[in-house]
Symmetry: none
Subunit: 218 residues, 4 copies
């Protein structure tokens, strides 16, 4: 009802309450993320989430309409975080291939390695649910793809090497997202040999950069 702590003139207790409320929400989301990744969405009961978050089931349902809402929210948050990370890496760039590379490397270094559980949620647990969850997942992927597409276009423009077929930028972006997804998942969870994810990530980026260049006029 009242938006957040307006500078001054607000009862201190109200401000604290709001902070606590936001904190509760986070606690619940964190608990849910951990459990969903550990045991799987369907194997995690609402009661377990409540216990892990040290609140009652009622509280979970006070903050989230239902269990699926937690998954949706998690999907959205993680998608957003990923975009912000990769995007910021791009924005630091000068539109060169190097910047493009750097953003890719960053995905592995700054996202996959420190937050493997987020990778799992996005690429495994959020898959195959109701229309609403699928919608959130689609949105996250689509926005990420769009970011990549724009980066390609920006780079092409900046390098003065226009795309041979500009409409192909989208497919390239989709492909790139696919590469990141599968490489991350494969080397993070499916290969237990101590493959160096940074090394394979680098190769993957080299691979995709070469693919992009193929579409740039000389």
């Amino acid at each position: 009802m009242q938006e957040s702590s307006q500078t001054t003139l607000e009862k201190p207790s109200a401000t604290r309450r709001k902070r606590e409320k936001a904190h509760r929400e986070r606690t619940i989301l964190d608990a849910a993320l951990t459990l969903f990744v550990e045991k799987g969405f369907h194997q995690t009961s609402a009661n377990e989430i409540a216990n892990a978050a040290e609140v009652s089931v009622g509280t979970v349902y006070f903050y989230f309409k239902n269990k699926e809402a937690l998954l949706i929210r998690l999907t959205q948050d993680i998608s957003y975080e990923l975009r912000k990370l990769v995007g910021s890496e791009f924005s630091k760039s000068d539109g060169s291939l190097k910047g493009f590379r750097r953003a890719g490397i960053s995905f592995f270094k700054d996202f996959c390695i420190p937050h493997p559980e987020k990778v799992t949620l996005l690429f495994r647990e959020a898959v195959g649910h109701s229309t609403e969850v699928e919608e959130a997942r689609k949105k996250g992927f689509t926005q990420l793809t769009e970011d990549v597409r724009k980066a390609i276009l920006f780079m092409a423009d900046n390098m003065n090497r226009p795309l041979t077929t500009p409409e192909s930028a989208e497919v390239l972006a989709v492909s790139i997202v696919g590469i990141y997804e599968r490489v991350a998942y494969n080397y993070l969870f499916w290969k237990d040999d101590g493959a160096d994810i940074l090394k394979v990530g680098d190769d993957a980026v080299t691979f995709l950069v070469a693919g992009v260049e193929r579409f740039l006029k000389p």
Copy 2:
């Protein structure tokens, strides 16, 4: 998977029984595939599968240990089918880049377009389940990846252009599988504009071929 009527020397009735048995099994698997894709694995009950297959629940459990076994079997069958398709396309090839391209195109033309439901099962419904299902999925992907890796190596050898770093073949293969997966899923289910999947498929293949060439010595 294949056990049916071995050559001769078998009581005809036994042969027929085996055929019927195999047929029942197929009917059940087909019903399960349809329902899993339509409503999702968890939203599909064993009774529904039985009804759709026009048998009783008991019969479903006679042929399959449990519901998950159906999903595993479906995952295996479809993975196998996909491998056979792509592999045969390769084997028809002479180890040239052209053959490599052709196999990629074939994935879109001969697998995705005629069997979108199999794409859905493999890339959506089989994701995020128990260890057993995940194992089957992993195996399918791994084998496919291995096929691609070998194809790259064969091609490199055949063209007399060895890989700059032979151990990179695997990452390339993983990346390529990722591309196929996401491009297919994206344009089959997420883009409702009438994007020509064959066109985008072609671009994707062009993209990945260029990526591979980057790793071949001149």
Copy 3:
């Protein structure tokens, strides 16, 4: 699917199964009736019904869509039984006032006294629920009212004393049903002095018969 035991030529086991199935249903309905009346519909849990019927909850839900379906079915069954009882009493009659009286008395003697729990269900427990239950209750009351209306008309015709305003027959019927309902409930459950229900029933019938006569031409 197959209707009941067709004379001959049916596997005996199938016949027995059908009998058992019908029996189970009855057992569950009886348990539900007892509990609904004893503790109230909302205070009765599905598990309690199952326990009382000595089956599992699953079985209750195998036979009835949900808890409310039990209430609906009970309402229908009891309404039907009541109609049959009162109706048969009428049909034995010659269309005289006496027959009309007799049917009324029969309601108290043959329905209320032996089956007070059915009175309770119809006049208390079935009241104030979802549209579906209300529909069933309305239907039961409406049919009973219609029976009474027709009896009035038949009697009038038979006695050659037409109604002064034939369209009033319906209000009379509704009023009569109202009398039976409240008198029964009042003296069965609200008056704990040992009021003789047969005596008050007789007075009520005398009262309503006089009311009806008021609408008959001399």
Copy 4:
């Protein structure tokens, strides 16, 4: 029920507070009545009542012990209102049959038509709950019945036509209440043809008056 501003000698602020308090209470009761009738008692949550009354749940529980207390209070208030209405109509009378008729007509004209929601609460929503609610309902009906019984006796006395069996007055009263209840409910909620409730009410009254006369000595 009535406690407000006693004559004089009271701090004005206290008076105001009492008025406000009574007002809050009414607001809550009105909201509850509307919702109970619209969605049913069990389908209405305390939060919904609070929202509709534009107060917090806490406030609802400050004024009323629990949700059932609201239902009880509503039952009592409406019973009381009904009695007052019908009773006042009687008291205006001279103990003639005419006055008796008039009171009956008044039930339909001045209670049912302007307040159908109160009819619903009394005859549907208050039915089938805990002992406490049932007690309130019983009390309301019993008092109303007693009023009617006394009116019959008064009339009989006044007309100098004593009852043939004075103890029958009660059954008649119960019957009459039953008539009013069912006729009102039937024509208000179950018949959607535009039946004129005043017309059927008149017939019902004619019917019951004739019934009463049957018990008066000539």
